[in-house]
Every structure is written in C-alpha cells, then in structure tokens.
Amino acid sequence: MTRPPARPPGIEGIPALRRSAPDPGSTGCHADLTLAAGDLPAAVRQLSDAGYFLEDIAGVDVTEGIMLVYHFDRFEAAARVVLRVIVPHDAPQAPSIATVYRGADWHERECFDFFGVRFIGHPDLKPLLLPEDLGSHPLLKGRDRRSLYSLLPLSRMVDVDKEPE
C-alpha cells in the first residue's frame, strides 16, 4: 500500500480564503480549503483534471451561513481534499458542479432537499429523498444553530501560509 503523500497533488493555485493542514490520522483528510462560492467551479475543474473523484457533498447549518462540504479523493495514493463553501442564509445559492462530476447531480439535489441551497446551473434541481410537497427543509437548525467555531477544532480553522514539507 502506498503511503499517502504529505501534500495532495494538484491543489496548488486554488484561490482559497483559508487553508489548513489537518492531521490525516485523526481526520482522514489531507488538505482542507475554504473557498468563496465563485471560485468553486474553477477549483473543482482543477481537481477533476488532477484525477480526483468526488466522494460527497454535505451541508452544515451554522450561524455563519450554510457550509457546503465537498470531499474529493484519489484512487491511488489516497489524498482526501476537503473544499468548504459558506453560503449566506438569506441567499443560499452555490454554483453547481454537476457538469464536471455527473455524480454531483444527486448530491446537490439532496443538499437542496434538506437545506434549501439552490445550485445554479444544475440540470434538474428537484427533491431527491423527500416528497415534493413537504414544504420545509428539515436539516436547517433554526434556533439551535451553532457557530462554526464551536463545531470545528481550531486546528482546522487556522490559516496555514506554508504547506508542510
């Protein structure tokens, strides 16, 4: 089994608002980038060209907004990269990556279903798992919303200037 690289290849040059170097042993991730919503399609295309596959698109409802979490990984020499995008509550929109990764179609439908995030450029944004007439987005926390800082450890929020050797 090949050792995972200290630095996942192919993520240089992504304009991240914040980057951190999580411990792969405890978090399973090798790079953690927070992006602005507009930078997402270019970053995803760069990862697709570097040979990453999409693992998951998840959402977290926090006080700062709705954080969309994208997990990418490689088949050989596992190197999981996490991209985070925070969209505001009053305008929950993000660009869709369904044209780059076909599998993102259903993940984005699920995020729309449960959080109400609209993905611009999605081919057919309709509910995946919940009935169309439900009328609410169940995973929005409402008054029980917590802050991002209480959910993620500080080590994953700290900006890292230099990539670790």
């Binding site: 798992l129 919940l130 009935p131 007439d133 439900l134 609410s136 169940p138």
Partner: protein, 177 residues
C-alpha cells in the same frame, strides 16, 4: 403529508361483494384462499430480511401454502408491508394496493409499518407513522424486526380471520430447549 386516503373512508375500501354471494360457497372459497395466500414482495427495509428468511428452508412458509411471492400486485392477494414507509414512498404503496384485485389483505410487518416504530419522535419529517394511515390493514405483526415465526403466526391470524379458526397447533410454552 398526503390527505387521508379514501381507502380509509368509513365505508371501507371500494370493494363490492361478489355477484353470487352464496355463503357456503364463499366459506369454502375463503378456506382455499387462506391456505394459499400469494404474498406480494413489498420489502422496504429490515423486515424484508425476515420475510426472505421465512421464504427459505428453515422457517418455510411453503408449508402453509404461501411460498409464491409475486412481485406484481396483479397476481398477489396478500400485501406484506415489510419495513418503513417513507412519505416519498407513500403514493406508491397506495397505488400498488389499489392495483391489487379483490380479494386482498394487508399485513403490517414490523413496528415501522404498524406505527412508525423507532421513527416516531417530535420533529421527524420523512416517515409515515403507520401504514394503516394509508391503506386498511388486516393483521399487525409487531417486532423490530419480528421473528420469522411471528410472520407465520401473522399468517395464522389471518387464516383465523378468514375461516374462523386456527388450523395449526399452538406452540407449547414449556418446551425444553
């Protein structure tokens, strides 16, 4: 949540009695029907595993005539709702029940089909709390999941409902293991 189905109206599901309603003939027919239910495989969740187990050799539903599981509602007369009915699945359950020709019976297998089971809590958004809010149920088999023997007892209870008596010996309580 869909409005309450008109299958559950006070007059019951829209099933007309037979044209020749001769009681002794219908009793004989009910006896024959009860000894050869053809279940419809409607396994939705974990209880489906128990339903599969009951179709296999150890618990053998074939002894009681019900081994012909049919995937199509047109050819089956017993709808075993084995598992959790989500609100997205609810219209399909109702439509399949309507597509079954009469006479037909429904068994709610497992706690989720009876009342929503472990999914009955405040704030749950996706699960129908009991399939009897959608279609009329004839026999309830509790358990999470019920043992295959419990499914068989449910079939016996349905046979008792149709014919008026239980045809098989009661299991003895004090069996030495």
């Amino acid at each position: 949540m869909a409005p309450q189905s008109d299958l559950l109206s006070p007059s019951g599901p829209p099933i007309d009695p037979p044209i020749l309603d001769i009681k002794p003939v219908q009793q004989i027919l009910d006896l024959c029907r009860s000894m050869s239910f053809w279940p419809m495989t409607f396994g939705l969740a974990c209880c489906a595993i128990e339903m599969m187990a009951v179709g296999m050799a150890r618990f053998d539903i074939a002894r009681f005539g019900a081994e012909a599981f049919r995937p199509s509602p047109r050819q089956s007369d017993l709808l075993i709702v084995a598992g959790t009915v989500s609100k997205k699945m609810a219209p399909a359950v109702v439509r399949l029940y309507e597509q079954m020709p009469a006479p037909k019976w429904v068994m709610a297998l497992g706690n989720c089909a009876i009342s929503g089971g472990p999914f009955c809590f405040e704030g749950q958004y996706g699960i129908v709390e009991g399939v009897d809010t959608l279609i009329p149920v004839d026999v309830y088999v509790p358990g999470c999941p019920p043992r295959p023997e419990a499914l068989l007892e449910g079939i016996f209870a349905l046979q008792k409902k149709l014919t008026g008596r239980r045809w098989w010996p009661e299991p003895r309580e004090d069996r030495r293991p």
